[in-house]
Subunit: 202 residues, 2 copies
């Protein structure tokens, strides 16, 4: 069976960088945004729409349970959500069957639960996440401290809502992961080779 | 400043073994039960009594807040609790000032928070914890599955209550640790050298 590592992450924690570097270090494939493009292709929906579903914009996933969502969003919208979920499910399973890989986000830990993935969750304190966001901001992006903090919280709220809705589990709760890593004040580039070694020996 | 590693752990997760092996691997001192003996010596209380306080028997720590505890357990008992806490605090700080060390339990992560300890939490699913408890049981110890599960849950309830009471933080919640490790179906002896390497490079 292929070796699968999944990485859940708080926004700004460096989880994506950690996933990418881990894949490089281990010689695994790396999947992240590619999955959105694949879903869009498979469903003929726009990438923007797929992304908004996967980021759990409130009009699509509110409230939490499937039963109630059906009642509120209506049959057509619900059926589109189902289409996106099913495409995501099949694309992720397909990728995982092809080669050893690291998959960031997208509930891959849950979707691939029968493949026994090594499930990592990356998090950090707010100060460190604000700093990381500032460092990687493109020129011109200049949110106030308060607005950036709100942005981080909104994105994570969406991720948590989407994960909880889709998996019936709690996003970031330790029982759903094999290793949770706090990256506050840590140098991801430096730690990844050692993390890779630990995972190789788990 | 000395290097300090603290290990919080669910009962039966192998956290104590992990702490001991980690100390060996890193050439650090290792402290666990020694702390109870030291507290007993320092306070002239019996080891059994100190242990019962540290395991948070309900008559001593119920209910959770200090204010209410004072009202219910009475001044004398409260003052004895304070004595144990203060002794624990000073012994742990003293040990940490002497040499690099691994300390298991005892709220050491919180007590030594100004020394920037590397804070590990070890956990596992119930099935794996039951198995680990069976494997290390002394002859004659033969609890039913149900009774052993209850025993594990009771001990963890006590640890959580004691930790939450003493630190004002939540036991096992990821924001209070640097790394959380799920030891379900893992070989602790095998993984420790690699975990030690990761920690050396954090």
């Amino acid at each position: 069976m292929k070796k699968i590592i999944t990485v859940g992450r708080e926004f700004g924690s460096g989880g994506r960088e950690l996933g990418r570097r881990l894949a490089e270090e281990l010689g695994f494939e790396y999947y992240d945004k590619e999955i959105v493009s694949e879903i869009a292709k498979k469903t003929s929906l726009s990438e923007g729409y797929v992304k908004s579903v996967l980021e759990s914009k409130p009009h699509q996933l509110y409230p939490i349970t499937i039963g109630r969502t059906m009642a509120i969003v209506g049959d057509y919208q619900f059926s589109q959500l189902q289409t996106v979920y099913q495409a995501q499910d099949s694309i992720i399973k397909d990728l995982a069957s092809k080669s050893d890989c690291v998959i960031v986000g997208r509930c891959a830990d849950y979707i691939l639960r029968e493949h026994d993935p090594y499930r990592i969750f990356v998090y950090a304190d707010m100060e460190s996440r604000l700093r990381r966001c500032r460092e990687r901001a493109v020129e011109g992006e200049d949110l106030s401290e308060k607005a950036l903090k709100q942005h981080i919280q909104d994105i994570d709220k969406g991720r948590a809502k989407y994960y909880d809705f889709y998996t019936g589990q709690k996003w970031g709760a330790k029982e759903n992961y094999d290793l949770l890593l706090n990256t506050t004040d840590r140098d991801i580039k430096n730690l990844v080779p050692h993390l890779a070694n630990l995972i190789r020996n788990m």
